[in-house]
């Protein structure tokens, strides 16, 4: 597709365990984003990055951390997964911030039991 892949696509994990989701892009875009999608809430921004090692919090960042050591990879970590973090997680990339919109990955469905 547009050179953005998320892994894994599905994951079931236990409460209290750490979980890392990966977003990989081949577009050399500067901006990368992690969103979660929940019924009734639409998409909410968790964290975003505007360059290597440059990251910032979104509106629902509690319980999540991110890292970006290379342009192509943006990792989202749930330090200690909770049931409230059961969700579908989407990664997005952009070359110009919001100008021109985003390209989204296919999503990771995470279930915390």
């Amino acid at each position: 597709d547009a050179g953005i892949t998320q892994s894994p696509r599905h994951k079931v994990t236990e409460t209290g365990t750490p979980v890392t989701l990966r977003c990989h892009q081949t577009e050399n875009h500067r901006y990368m984003y992690w969103y979660r999608q929940d019924p009734g809430h639409g998409l909410r921004l968790i964290h975003y990055s505007y360059g290597v090692k440059d990251t910032d919090k979104g509106e629902v960042s509690d319980g999540y951390s991110v890292s970006r050591s290379k342009t192509e990879d943006f990792l989202l970590t749930l330090e200690s997964a909770t049931s409230s973090q059961t969700s579908v997680y989407f990664c997005a990339i952009s070359g110009q911030g919001t100008l021109g919109g985003y390209t989204f990955g296919s999503g990771t469905r995470l279930t915390v039991v």
């Binding site: 998409l43 505007y50 919001t98 999503g107």
Partner: protein
């Protein structure tokens, strides 16, 4: 902070009927994006509107941004089952290119054959 409100939240129409989805902002929009999502999949970019009064069309889908740049509508003519899915509007979080998009909660469209 800016919020986007979509209406209706869900819609069921008979194949061949026209329909409209609205997206209203609490602040002036500096770029309004429409995305479509099929169940279990990522978001697909449809259209971007930037200027007051702007209107864009692609196949049977037309999107408009009002003159005040606070409301956008997405109109589908002669709906087909392939139009079914979740439609989301997105806009820059601030008053320019902040690099962050916020989204409405989505409108779920079902098209009955």
């Amino acid at each position: 902070s800016q919020e986007l409100e979509q209406s209706p939240q869900s819609l069921i129409v008979q194949e061949g009927k026209n329909l409209t989805i609205n997206c209203t902002s609490s602040k002036t929009l500096y770029g309004l994006y429409w995305y479509k999502q099929k169940y279990g999949e990522g978001l697909i970019f449809l259209m971007m509107l930037q200027k007051g009064g702007e209107e864009k069309s692609h196949e049977k889908i037309t999107a408009k941004l009002d003159e005040k740049k606070q409301q956008s509508s997405l109109h589908i003519t002669a709906s087909q089952p392939s139009h079914a899915g979740i439609y989301l509007c997105g806009a820059d979080k601030g008053s320019g290119n902040t690099g962050k998009l916020i989204f409405g909660q989505g409108t779920t469209l079902q098209v009955k054959p």
